[in-house]
């Protein structure tokens, strides 16, 4: 009761889940005990990470064995969750589910007692593609309009984004580094506030993730200018990428399950296998499409490669803008 335990199954269900788990994984002995697996998210409940993690917590017990709880810890701007996982026993039962903000960016800019090498990705859920958008009656409707207006009158366009240096702010920083354009950065409390400021005519542009504006863009209530990604977003098929417009700015945000490097390799492999198996199940696929989560799992090796690449690129941006030496 006094933990934010967010699985629906009770104690009885745990037993059933444990029994069901014996069948598919009989070959390999499980390195996990019967204690629940905790997926710790460094954000408040109800957001994209929470919703995505819940798809896993609802489907994976059948494949992994123990019950899976989603625990939300947003304290200390997410660092409390990171430290909690860092200090937990390294047995694979306490895992972090996060985008690159609380781990890669914080690892650079905050005073933490761990480094980026102290973590190992277990699996990647999805890649979120940061998208620039505005209201349909705004004079800026395309990437070209934006560049033109910003060139004509530098520092005149107001741009809303969530917290500074977060996943929907760094792409703007990178874009300005590449193009030399200047905009007025207006930090907001999150996607909801950015959106009401844009719709109310208080700011010009904003950045968000495709799932949260897809239906409004389709019905013409919002305009998506461009996506900071190599390929177009499946949720916004008609929105060009910045690369298509001639600006090679690509900075997608992943959502990974991450363990500390002290967790044994075979445990990580077991978790990777059962998570990926669960997400490939018909129930998980149906749930993912229902909640617009766009889950396309990557295994541990590919996730690690992606993680290391992100550490390098974020490090470069932060050095360039003088946030770190």
């Amino acid at each position: 009761m006094f933990h934010k335990i967010t699985t629906p199954q009770g104690a009885a269900a745990t037993a059933i889940a444990a029994m069901m788990a014996i069948a598919p994984t009989l070959g390999a002995a499980s390195p996990l005990s019967n204690d629940p697996i905790r997926l710790v998210i460094p954000f408040g409940p109800g957001g994209g990470s929470d919703i995505t993690a819940r798809v896993l917590s609802a489907t994976a017990p059948e494949f992994c064995g123990p019950r899976i709880d989603v625990v939300s810890m947003s304290g200390a701007a997410g660092l409390e969750a990171v430290n909690f996982v860092r200090n937990a026993e390294p047995n694979g039962h306490t895992l972090l589910v996060t985008d690159y903000g609380p781990i890669v960016t914080s690892g650079f800019v905050d005073d933490v007692d761990w480094s980026h090498e102290d973590w190992q990705p277990v699996m990647n859920f999805t890649e979120w593609l940061p998208t620039v958008y505005t209201r349909p009656d705004h004079p800026i409707q395309t990437i070209e309009d934006w560049v033109e207006a910003a060139t004509a009158d530098p520092g005149s366009i107001t741009f809303g984004h969530a917290s500074p240096l977060g996943i929907v702010h760094l792409p703007l920083v990178l874009f300005e580094m590449e193009t030399g354009l200047e905009n007025i950065h207006v930090p907001t409390s999150g996607g909801g506030e950015t959106r009401s400021l844009i719709m109310g005519g208080h700011i010009d542009l904003g950045m968000t993730l495709p799932a949260s504006i897809a239906s409004e863009v389709a019905s013409g209530e919002l305009t998506a200018l461009g996506v900071f990604a190599a390929e177009r977003s499946a949720a916004l098929p008609d929105t060009p990428t910045f690369r298509e417009a001639g600006y090679d700015v690509v900075l997608p945000a992943w959502l990974m399950i991450i363990a500390t490097d002290e967790v044994p390799a075979e445990t990580v492999e077991y978790l990777q296998d059962c998570f990926m198996e669960a997400l490939a199940s018909p129930t998980a696929v149906a749930m993912s499409s229902r909640v617009n989560a766009g889950i396309e799992p990557l295994n541990a090796a590919d996730s690690t490669e992606l993680y290391m690449a992100t550490v390098e690129s974020i490090g470069n941006i932060l050095r360039e803008i003088g946030e770190i030496d």
């Binding site: 909801g192 009401s196 005519g201």
Partner: protein, 505 residues
Amino acid sequence: MLESFIPALYLAFSPEVIMFVAIGVLMGVTLGAIPGLSGDMAIAILLPIVFFLEPAAALGLLTGIYKGGMFGGSISAISFGVPGTPGSAATAIDGYQAKLKGYPNKALNTALYSSVIGDTSSDFVLIFLALPLAIVALTFGPVEFFALYAFSLLLISALTKGKVAKGVAMAALGILLAMIGRDPIGGSLRLTFGIPELSGGLALIPVLVGIFAVSELIIQLSKAWMERANRIMDDARQRAESLLGDYDASKDKLSFAEFRSTMKATWIGTTMGTLIGALPGAGSSLAAFISYGLAQRFSRNRDEFGKGSLEGVAAAEAGNSATSGSTLIPLFAFGIPGSATAALFGAAFILMGMTPGPRLIYDHTEVIYALFLILIYANLINLVFSHFLLPVYSKIAMIQSRILLPIVCVLAILGTFAAGNSVIDVYVLLFAGFLGVVLRMYNFPLAPLILGFIVAPGAERALRQSLLIGRGDWMHLLSSPIAIGLYTVAAIMILTFTLVLRDKK
């Protein structure tokens, strides 16, 4: 549209759905009454239930919890002076005084009726006026929000007669406490003194429960120790005393005349709550404080406020409950979650495969109509349940403090820990408790401090966003008619009422 109404009626009034709404209300009232635990938390925990229940049943359960929790917060606010939820902080001011005077039942009933009236009216506004009100709400940008926050701070700080300076000082202290942590615009750390745990700032629940509740507990405890030292000579007398002391339940009934006397305050609360609830990001505690402040300004018995006034309870409770329907307006009209609760309802819709926004009502007419019906009748269920439970709660409120205090204390600590899964929050709770003791000893009003703490992050963001958008020009703050209007009303009110109050002396 009408052809969807009949199936929606069947859906909303199916025995299963009614049962889930009732379970939700009971859970909400109980959790809301525990300091630190709120309906929002229960909704977050139970969110995955939408995978397993029919949409109407799941929404019924969540709605029930939400409404129950909204009222439940006032139970501990009145009974123990501990706001069970942030929204009920303003209820604690007069509610707890009323209890100390020996009439918790009157205060609780006032809270229940005003809460249900406020909530129901707000639901009707959501159903019939969502779109126009949402469009008005969108005209609130950073400039207008800063004016609203400044207005509310002035209103509350200047509330207590003869203590205006202390009130302003307390609001400033609240703002200072809220500035600990990450700067919302630049992202740099402020006032953390190198303690990494403070980088996320102080959480609202521990500060709120600490300032109001733990300080009260410490004071009560020391009183109890003093009394115990005196009474130890007279052991026999103490044993003879009944569990409830000299509380007489038969004298503690809310009369119709008393109920009618609170109606003006209730309607002020209902109106302000509905309007403020529709603004994305403003929140139920702000609505409660503004309603309380305005009700005091317009009351005939202004001097009773802060001393157990039922009008004060009614205004605060109607104010916070009236946000409950209208907080969903931006979500329904534009898909913008305007509050934590609205974000959770938004997540519930998404988990059910329904996208929040203007299309929601066209794409899922039956379920949304059923939700509208549930929103209305959940209030009735809340009214009936709580009506029968209140006498029990009033008796609990009057249990002697030597039994009650340890229980409340443990609940406060557990509830605070549960709200953020954080031990730091418990330290903050205790620290805030000691701060509260000091402030109470020197007669500083606590409400402005809490309001300052609640509105500071939003006010700072609004101010700095305004200045960013206005490119550093302070005159930009006066660029909106709404803002100018709010500043003018604030100025006129403070001037007139200060003068009126002075004349009376």
